[in-house]
Structure formats: C-alpha cells, structure tokens
Amino acid sequence: MPEFWIKMWEWWPEIFPVLLRATAMTVQVMIGALIVALILGMAVALMRISTFKLLRYPALFYTDVMRGTPALVQIFIIYFGLSDLGIEFDPVSAAIIGLGMNGAAYVGEIYRAGIEAIHRGQVEAALSLGMTPVRAMRYIILPQALRLMLPPLCNYAILLVKDTAIISTIAAPEIMFEARRLVQATFMYSISGQIYLICAGFYLALTLPLSQVAKRLEKAKERWR
C-alpha cells in the first residue's frame, strides 16, 4: 500500500495539472448547464402554472419526459442522434445543452413549488392595487418565492456537479473522462484507485461549499418566515 502512494507521488506532476484542467472544464459545463436550466426552467414553470391548457400540458409533458428518462440517454440523443440529422455539437456544447434541458425540468419544479407556496392573498393584494398579473409576479411573488427557492436550487447545483460525470461518455474532457484517460495510459494502471480517490476529492471541493451555502440559506429562510 505505501508503495502505491510513493508511485502516486512520482506521477503527481502528470496527474494533477490534467485533473485541475478537467475540473475547470467540469465547472464550465456545470455553470453553462445551470444557466440553461435556470432560464429554461422559468419558462417551464410559468407554463405549468398558466391557466391555459395549451401551455400547461406541453410543460407537464416536458417535465415528465425529462425526469422519466436518464440524462445519459438525453445527452446521447443530442450528441449522436442530432448529428445523424446533420446538427453537430462538440461534446461540451452537447453536454451543456443536454444537462441544461434535463435540469430545466427539475428547476422548473423548484420554481413552481416556490411560486405556489406564496399565499394567494399576495397576488390578490397586488392585483387589487392595479398591477397586471405579470407585474404582480415580478414585484411581489418572485422576490418572495426566490427566498424559498434558493436552498433547493443550491441542492440542485450539487446534483448537477455530480451529474457532469456522465458526460465523460461523450468524451467531454471533464474530471471522470480525464481520470479514465490517465488510468488507461498503461503506466498508471496500478494506481487507478488512488486516481479515482483524487477525483472524488475534486468533486467534493466543488460540492462542499455549495452544501454550506445551502445550509445557510435554509436557516435564513426559516428566520424570515
């Protein structure tokens, strides 16, 4: 066992920069997907709470499909399936779009729950003052709902960091992809366990701060309610 770690120490200069770069890529994919999910999720949520069936049902369908099928399958469809139709994405873009579209379903549910948790009297007070439903949403409902939504959104971001691992399957150069490449470079086969342990460390470095933020937000929310 100790000699493994000695080998590890020798190869460290080869491993560390690669995994660090891969972590930067993971962060990039995660932030890209998060932005897509946050924006698209808002559309999904607003459609789902709409009184028009023509808006509500497609959003419901979207949510069910995205949550009911593996993200991996969705990403394969975007990356391989669409390229068959002549729409080509590089792995990173495909990953951002795939994870973002998948996340929109979850984020949409978080938004919806947050909006619906605001007492009806709030909208009614806003409407009775002469606000249009859109203004009531913007100035009265969303600012309040946001405080309820932030902790679950933070938790979603944690899941998203971990979900980026699946995009190694389309050769997006994130942590798991690079780790496997390192391992498969024959001379490091013997220390694969350690390399994956280091990977876990890099993921933790990303997710632990997020869970701290989530905990803080949760407490702040309770104080405010």
Binding site: H119, G121, Q122, E124, A125, A126, L127, S128, L129, G130, M131, T132, P133, V134, R135, Y139, I140, P143, Q144, R147, W224
Partner: protein
C-alpha cells in the same frame, strides 16, 4: 344623481354552490354602506366580485357608469384584458381581513410599490406620497419596518395607507378588524372613521355593530347570497323587519 357603484343582478356560483343569488345595489358617491350577515352568506364574495378578484357567474357591475371587468363589443359582453382590468382595479381599493401586506417590503415600500409600478411615478415622488399616507394613518415613524415587526393593528393601518395612496374612487373593506386582538381594533376603526368623515365612498363588511351604526348611511343584511333587508342603520339595528335579521343581531350581541 347617478350612483357611483351599480351592481345589477349579480350571481356567483362555485360549481353547484350558489353563493350570490341575484344581488342588486346602488351606492351613491360619498355613501358609507355596511354589509352584515352570518358567516358564509356571501359577503366576501360580493366584495371580491366588485373588483373582479372573483368573476361573477352573471350580472354586471358599473363604477361611474363604466362596466367593471367587461366591455361591450357588438352588443356582447366580453371580459377585459389583464391590462384593462388592472386599470379599473387601480381605482377600487380593497382592504383585506388578513391585511395581505407584502412581507418582503418595508411599510414604506408596501405603500409606494403601487404608485411606482402601477402609476409609473418616480421613486422619490412615490415615496413622498407613501410617507404622507403613512403619516395619515399615524405610522410615519414605522416607515422602515417590515410587516412582521408590526402589530396586527399597525399592519392593517399600513394596508389602508396602501389603498389610500392610489386615491381610489371606492374603498371596499372586508372585516378589516376581525383578525385583530380586541385591544388593537380601536386604532383601525379610528382610521376608518376618519376616511368616512372625509366623504369617501366605502362599502364595509363588518361585525362591529355600534361602529357600523355610527358611520354608515345604510346597512344591508345578507343571508344565503341574498339581500334580506336594507335601510338606515338605526332601523336595521333597532327595529329589523325580518326574523332572520333579528336572530343574527341577537347572536352577534350575545357574543
């Protein structure tokens, strides 16, 4: 003289439950009308229909001869768009039983948010007007507080300031004091009394019989979604014609 508010044969059902069964009321400009009646008789629903928080099943409402919530196109009644409806609602103030202040805004912002976001006033102008209204309800010194830091009575007074700042033609008050602890009722009634003295047009649902008798020009007794009787306060309260009114009043006084 033309009435400020005219309600014509208003019906409202929730599914099969008929809550308003043909209500017609005229309210003159400057008139103070009190509505009393047992719980579940449709008083809240009636007020909510007047500013279209609830869509009537049938019947029409006019303020200053203008239809509320609808317009006539080629002789047919059609619902207004969100924008048109919002314009009409801005002229009708609603004071809720549970205040419904915005918890994420200070007292000042609760009052200035509508002048800013509905009337489009500059922040400074809106806040100036808002502060004047808080002053009027005796709460200028609480302008920076959030609702959770205010007592129920103070919250309701902020809610009244929030309505007044829009200079509504008509003010609807739904049991404005019934969610308050007894010792806080007085401060809110005092504010409402001042509004009455200023000659504002008000419709209030209330269980405060002595107060209603003091400030209203007319009292309506509702039961089962219908107007059972109406008249000047001393007649309704001291000498009601209908047995149901008598029973109701006795129950309230006994409480």
């Amino acid at each position: 003289m033309k009435p400020l508010l005219r309600i014509v044969d208003l019906h409202k059902s929730f599914g099969t439950l008929e809550v308003l069964a043909g209500i017609s009321i005229d309210v003159a400009r400057g008139e103070k009308l009190s509505i009393i009646g047992p719980s579940g008789s449709g008083k809240t629903t009636l007020l909510r229909c007047i500013n279209y928080l609830e869509k009537p099943t049938a019947g029409h409402i006019y303020v200053d001869d203008k239809l509320i919530g609808e317009k006539q196109v080629n002789g047919k009644f059609v619902h207004l768009s969100d924008r048109e409806l919002a314009k009409e609602r801005a002229e009708i103030g609603f004071v809720f039983q549970r205040f419904n202040l915005f918890p994420h805004l200070t007292a000042l912002d609760n009052v200035s948010v509508a002048p800013r976001r509905v009337l489009g006033l500059e922040k400074r102008d809106a806040e100036e007007r808002a502060l004047a209204m808080l002053e009027k309800v005796g709460l200028a010194h609480k302008a920076g507080e959030y609702p959770e830091r205010l007592s129920g009575g103070q919250q309701q007074r902020v809610a009244i300031a929030r309505v007044l700042v829009m200079q509504p033609k008509l003010i609807l008050l739904d049991e404005a004091t019934s969610a308050l602890d007894p010792e806080l009722i007085g401060e809110v009634l005092k504010v409402i009394r001042e509004l009455a003295e200023e000659g504002r047009t008000m419709i209030m649902v209330t269980h405060e019989i002595p107060f209603a008798e003091e400030i209203s020009d007319r009292v309506i007794f509702m039961d089962d979604g219908k107007i059972v009787e109406e008249g000047p306060p001393h007649e309704i309260f001291s000498n009601p014609t209908h047995e149901r009114t008598r029973v109701f009043l006795r129950q309230i006084i006994d409480r």
